[in-house]
């Protein structure tokens, strides 16, 4: 199993955190991982993107040329991200902010209203964790079944109070993905 994912969004949406958390959880689930972030020199804004690979085998190139799954968090990253999708791959759209479908009739497109779900749970900033749940559900590559234990080793103890909300976001993301598949 090798899952190559390309994630894009605007700076501040947690694109880099989503990629990091994804590979960290994958590593804790026993997979080999690579994560390569790419962003401009801007302090805020701009388009942030991440090439992320989780695999049962040694990873050759860490650059994702053709992604099995593309995650699009914002409208302005559609153009950059849509062409990264492999033929017949999956595109996960944050439908709260992306209002036009990518021009990829070959791809399976799943609409996840990440910001709306996150705000319902209590904080719009965990929209990226909603998306991580959806990514787990649709790829099956990283199970996230024990994410609460894993996140405890990722975050310093001062942030452990936020973990239950993040877990809720991940679970809601899985559910949202199930209901649109």
């Amino acid at each position: 199993m090798t899952e190559k994912t390309f994630i894009a969004g605007f700076g501040g949406q947690g694109v880099i955190s989503l990629g990091q958390m994804w590979v960290y959880c994958a590593m804790k689930e026993g997979l080999i991982v690579s994560f390569f972030p790419f962003y401009g020199a801007e302090k805020r804004g701009g388009i942030a993107r991440a090439s992320v690979i989780v695999s049962e085998e040694e990873i050759a190139s860490p650059i994702v040329a053709k992604a099995d799954t593309v995650v699009i968090m914002s409208q302005d990253s559609v153009e950059i991200a849509e062409e990264k999708c492999a033929q017949g791959g999956t595109i996960l759209l944050n439908s709260s902010l992306v209002k036009t479908d990518p021009n990829r009739p070959d791809a399976k497109i799943l609409h996840i209203p990440c910001n709306e779900i996150a705000e319902k749970i209590g904080d719009g900033r965990i929209a990226n964790m909603v998306m991580m749940g959806a990514l787990s559900q649709t790829t099956g590559a990283v199970k996230l079944d024990h994410a609460d234990e894993i996140l405890k080793t990722f975050f310093p103890p001062s942030k452990h109070g936020l973990i239950p909300m993040n877990i809720k976001a991940i679970e809601a993301g899985k559910q949202a993905c199930l209901s649109c598949e």
């Binding site: 390569f36 020199a41 990873i59 050759a60 190139s61 860490p62 650059i63 040329a65 053709k66």
Partner: protein
């Protein structure tokens, strides 16, 4: 007990490996894409009882390395391409004084101030000395985070052993990317070999006065010193050449690539083999000394071709040509300016050459 696996950025893994290797003093100046390395050292050197100084410039930092190395401690600096250019005078002085030191270049795109994204355009500078005068530094090229940690750790050992500065040549991708890494065990700093040539503490240690300098105004004496160093280089060339091979035995086309380009080329080889193409990969790990002899031996096979894949306009390709010495076709493929080729582009270049 199995060792702890950690998820780290290349820059951080290099910093932690240096601390574990007994780096007693780090001198740096910020530049993207190696900033996490300087930041890691700022956060972790002082608590470990070591010295961290953010110098006022790259020139200052490399000269602080010279001073620290002359006292016999393990010393290090790091930067990215334009900053490494600024350090070249100091690296030449270190080589002239036969001092060990570790310099890390997390390379970015040039020339000039260029851009902040990964590139391999510093190959000539790294392998041809880089500064003025007849000298070389040992150059190690990691292909990922694990090897960045391992080679940085080993760089301190090699530098002490040979009394030659060691350059770890990474790039912005290896510095910025995160992979899992198992770190080497820390050395016992008290047990590191003594350096009787070092300056300082002579009264305490009851040693004679030592003088560490790269200056030598008598041409005959300087020539003798340079000849002696050259003989030393010949020994290093015999002992240290290191490389990795992937499916080269039956290959009609051998891709030669290091660092990030080697990782991408691994994927291209896998994709090419899946299509039935006989492609292999030769990855130099030491860029100086360069594995000329092994490449020359590979060029003996009838009809074999070589493609040097680099994120540059073609620099290592000249070393491949020197090694092959006209016995086989050699070409270059690569992106530049901070653009990174992907496996499809590399495979397409390999197929063009196979069909040419």
């Amino acid at each position: 007990m199995s060792k702890e696996i950690r998820l780290m950025k290349g820059n951080e893994a290099i910093g932690e490996a240096a601390i574990r290797a007994g780096c007693a003093s780090y001198f740096g100046y910020p530049i993207t894409p190696q900033n996490e390395l300087t930041a890691y050292m700022a956060a972790n050197m002082l608590p470990a009882g070591r010295i961290f100084i953010q110098a006022e410039s790259e020139v200052s930092a490399i000269n602080m390395v010279y001073g620290a190395a002359a006292t016999g401690v393990r010393a290090m600096t790091s930067s990215s391409s334009p900053g490494i250019s600024l350090k070249q005078e100091g690296i030449s002085y270190l080589c002239g004084a036969d001092l060990p030191a570790v310099v890390v270049n997390v390379a970015r795109a040039g020339p000039g101030l260029g851009g902040i994204t990964p590139a391999q355009g510093d190959y000539f500078q790294s392998t041809r000395g880089g500064g003025h005068g007849d000298y070389h530094t040992i150059v190690l090229a990691p292909k990922g985070v694990q090897e960045a940690a391992d080679l940085t750790f080993e760089a301190f050992e090699l530098s002490d052993k040979y009394k030659i500065p060691v350059l770890v040549l990474a790039d912005g991708l290896i510095g910025q990317m995160m992979e899992s890494v198992v770190l080497p065990d820390p050395v016992d700093m008290a047990a590191l070999p003594r350096k009787p040539w070092a300056v300082g503490h002579q009264a305490r240690d009851k040693r004679g006065v030592n003088h560490v300098s790269s200056m030598n105004l008598d041409p005959a004496t300087l020539e003798k010193a340079n000849l002696k160093r050259e003989a030393h280089y010949d020994m290093v060339k015999k002992e240290l050449c290191r490389y990795e091979e992937m499916q080269v035995e039956d290959a009609d086309l051998v891709i030669v690539a290091y660092g990030t380009s080697a990782r991408v080329s691994m994927s291209a080889v896998q994709a090419g083999r899946a299509k039935g193409l006989k492609i292999g990969l030769f990855r130099p790990i030491t860029l100086w000394p360069f594995p000329y002899e092994r490449i020359a031996a590979l060029a003996e096979k009838e009809g074999r071709k070589f493609l040097s894949v680099e994120m540059s306009m073609g620099q290592m390709v000249e070393d491949v040509r020197l090694a092959v010495n006209g016995r086989a076709p050699v070409a270059h493929y690569g992106r530049t300016g901070g653009m990174i080729h992907n496996e499809e582009e590399v495979l397409a270049a390999a197929e063009r050459m196979l069909n040419a």
